[in-house]
């Protein structure tokens, strides 16, 4: 019996492959140097050499979008990995120890939820100056409570299972049980969450860069491109539309992929198929 893949998974995977592929390609090749300015050739229309034309400084738009993809992906990846690791560790810890530790971690998570990421990034920028690193830290920070909560919920379910009780009866300590039994059995839920959070992180990075709190010139990112194009909205609206479309494609792609993965890992849904 072949199991059919959910439609959202296929669509998401295609979009994600497109975005990630483009970002990876930009590491080795872009049509032009993304930062090379040719003022004489500004606002060029699409042509064979400049597929989507050039911007107000004569830079190649396609090359800038590709370089932007790379930066946006890198920020999202590092932020989700960082925030995810801390969040998962906190969630596992809360679930393993229980009692006041669990309550404490979860109240802290509530606090984190209540705290807007942009506000936190502005705070970081005010103290340490705006930079891509601070943007990454801010996005990672807002991911911690999300992962902590998902991990603890899933882990608490696994802790009630007999094989975990059997491991306790065997004399394993709580940390070894978390490593050997809990983490492998909740990995699917965490991966699903990470994929969805990746989309959120791309959006957050765009917002921060748009506000000037993320990537600094000459580094490119979709948010920065959007912010630069803003002043030229009437003159050259296409310069704002292209990065906007890129963000939409990436966010929708990761969102669909995450939904699809969740559908596949949910046994109640997969049994129907």
């Amino acid at each position: 019996m072949t199991r059919r893949l959910p439609v959202n998974f296929i669509l998401g995977a295609v979009l994600v492959a497109l975005v990630v592929g483009t970002a990876a390609l930009s590491l080795v090749w872009t049509p032009h140097d993304a930062t090379l300015m040719t003022i004489s050739n500004k606002f060029a229309p699409p042509s064979a050499t400049h597929w989507l034309g050039t911007d107000q400084l004569g830079r190649d738009v396609v090359s800038q979008l590709m370089a932007g993809a790379r930066n946006s992906m890198a920020v999202a990846l590092v932020a989700v990995l960082l925030g995810g690791s801390v969040g998962v560790a906190l969630g596992l810890l809360a679930s393993a120890i229980g009692g006041w530790v669990e309550d404490g971690v979860m109240r802290l998570a509530d606090l984190g939820f209540a705290f807007p990421a942009l506000l936190f990034a502005i705070m970081l920028a005010a103290v340490f100056g705006p930079s891509l690193t601070n943007a990454v830290l801010a996005i990672a920070f807002i991911n911690i409570p999300v992962f902590a909560r998902v991990t603890r919920g899933a882990a608490n379910q696994v802790w009630t299972l007999d094989y975990v009780l059997a491991a306790r009866a065997a004399g394993m300590n709580r940390f070894a049980i978390s490593r050997d039994h809990i983490l492998p059995n909740i990995a699917a839920a965490i991966i699903v969450q990470a994929t969805i959070e990746f989309a959120v992180a791309i959006l957050a990075e765009a917002a921060l860069s748009y506000l000037g709190l993320g990537a600094q010139p000459p580094a490119s990112s979709w948010g920065r491109l959007l912010s630069e194009a803003q002043t030229l909205m009437y003159l050259a609206p296409q310069l704002a539309i292209y990065p906007g479309l890129c963000i939409v494609v990436a966010v929708v792609g990761f969102g669909l992929l995450g939904d699809g993965l969740r559908d596949m890992s949910d046994p109640r849904l997969s049994r129907e198929r």
């Binding site: 299972l161 094989y163 009780l165 065997a170 004399g171």
Partner: protein, 261 residues
């Protein structure tokens, strides 16, 4: 008379239930009330009762998963609940447990051999793991090569054998079996019961055998303790309890278990 292997004295366990009203204190459920029993090496004590009778709570207290609110569990003369967490983990190799659900008691993502060896890893006995895993599998009637397979490749009865192999791999003195055959087909039940008897003869195990089915308990236990609503109703040698049950409730259980009448 030698000292008993397990001596449970006046065990009491209460649970606080969710509050039903802001104005009244949370109601308290007494899951186990002042219950005492002993098990000697090589003997089986059957605890019979229905869901809510407190028999599983007894198993959890004997396994030191839960601490009694009153009373104590002396295992080989040691009060289990007075040990430090580290000392308790080291002691755990001497008392092991077999669970009801053969599909839930093995981690689906781990090989059978990995699961069986877990109690040995817990005490840091890393040498000889493969040989002793193989030995344990053979003791429960499975081929040693099954160690490399995953739980889903086995039937319910075979999985229960694997769970028993894990429980005996550290050569414990006491085995707690909580409804260990209840989820199995009748013909497989008898095989597992016989296996437990064989292992008891070979290893001199004391067994705390918990079941709702008096017929199953009767076939394997030397002593029987009947529980209802957390209270011990009657206890004594199996033959005596079965032949002349003192309590009407025991007679009901006997009736439910009997094929005749």
């Amino acid at each position: 008379m030698t000292a008993p292997l397990l001596d449970a004295r006046n065990l009491t366990r209460r649970y606080r239930l969710p509050r039903t009203s802001l104005l009244h204190p949370a109601p308290v459920l007494t899951a186990v009330d002042n219950t005492s029993f002993t098990i000697r090496a090589g003997e089986t004590l059957g605890v019979v009762g229905e869901s809510g009778s407190g028999k599983s709570t007894i198993a959890r207290m004997v396994m030191a998963f839960e601490t009694p609110d009153a009373g104590e569990v002396l295992f080989q003369g040691q009060n289990l609940h007075a040990l430090s967490p580290y000392e308790l983990r080291l002691q755990r190799q001497k008392f092991q447990m077999v669970f009801q659900d053969p599909f839930g008691s093995l981690d689906p993502r781990r090989t059978v051999g990995w699961s069986i060896a877990e109690p040995m890893r817990a005490i840091g006995a890393d040498t000889d793991t493969a040989r002793r895993t193989a030995e344990a599998l053979e003791q429960v009637g499975l081929p040693a090569r099954d160690a490399d397979k995953y739980p889903h490749e086995f039937s319910g009865g075979q999985r229960q054998r694997i769970a028993i192999a894990r429980a005996i791999v550290t050569r414990p003195a006491l085995l707690v079996a909580d409804e260990a055959v209840s989820a199995l087909d009748v013909s497989v039940q008898a095989q597992i019961l016989n296996l437990l008897m064989d292992l008891q003869d070979d290893l001199g195990l004391g067994i705390l055998f918990i079941s709702h089915d008096l017929a199953v308990v009767a076939s394997i236990c030397d002593h029987i303790l009947v529980m209802q609503h957390g209270k011990p109703l009657e206890s004594g040698p199996a033959a005596q309890v079965l032949r002349s049950p003192a309590h009407a409730y025991t007679q009901t259980l006997l009736k439910a278990a009997g094929v005749s009448t």
